[in-house]
Symmetry: C2
Subunit: 90 residues, 2 copies
């Protein structure tokens, strides 16, 4: 999957990401990967569900993977954060 | 899967749920299902990752399902909330 098919879910309102996904899929992209870390994980699930239930009803949830990533904070120490990848395809 | 193998993830500290899962799996249960809704979804992912990485390294993440559930709030109106189910087995 090329990098441009990935939507990174952060702290913006959920509909911003829904719009990004819907725009990509309606523009001919058949697969979009949602990626999120930490507290944004629940927002990523919201995005996938809203896209599928309200906007692109033929979209299907593909593989869902969870993992742990190591991140450096401002003080220079490392901590672990959970991550999720949700594949959406139509 | 019987109801007793389900761990519902809520707003308690993440290690409470990790302990519940580890206790079940060390007590002979080979499969535990984590269920969470809304903002607790990211905590459920944390629980699965911590159990697998730190406590029961032979545990594997099985099927991960996401869905939308309708909940009634105190005013009597309904709203939708995302939900996740994460299967852990060893």
């Amino acid at each position: 999957m090329s990098e441009e098919n990935v939507v990174y879910i952060g702290t913006k309102p959920v509909m911003n990401y829904v719009l990004a996904v819907v725009t990509q899929m309606n523009g001919g992209t058949s697969e979009v990967m949602l990626k999120a870390r930490g507290k944004a994980i629940s927002r990523a699930v919201d995005v996938a569900e809203i896209v599928r239930n309200r906007f692109i009803t033929e979209a299907e949830i593909g593989a869902i993977d969870i993992s742990t990533e190591e991140v450096s904070n401002r003080e220079g120490s490392n901590s672990n954060v959970s991550a999720i990848e949700i594949q959406l395809s139509k």
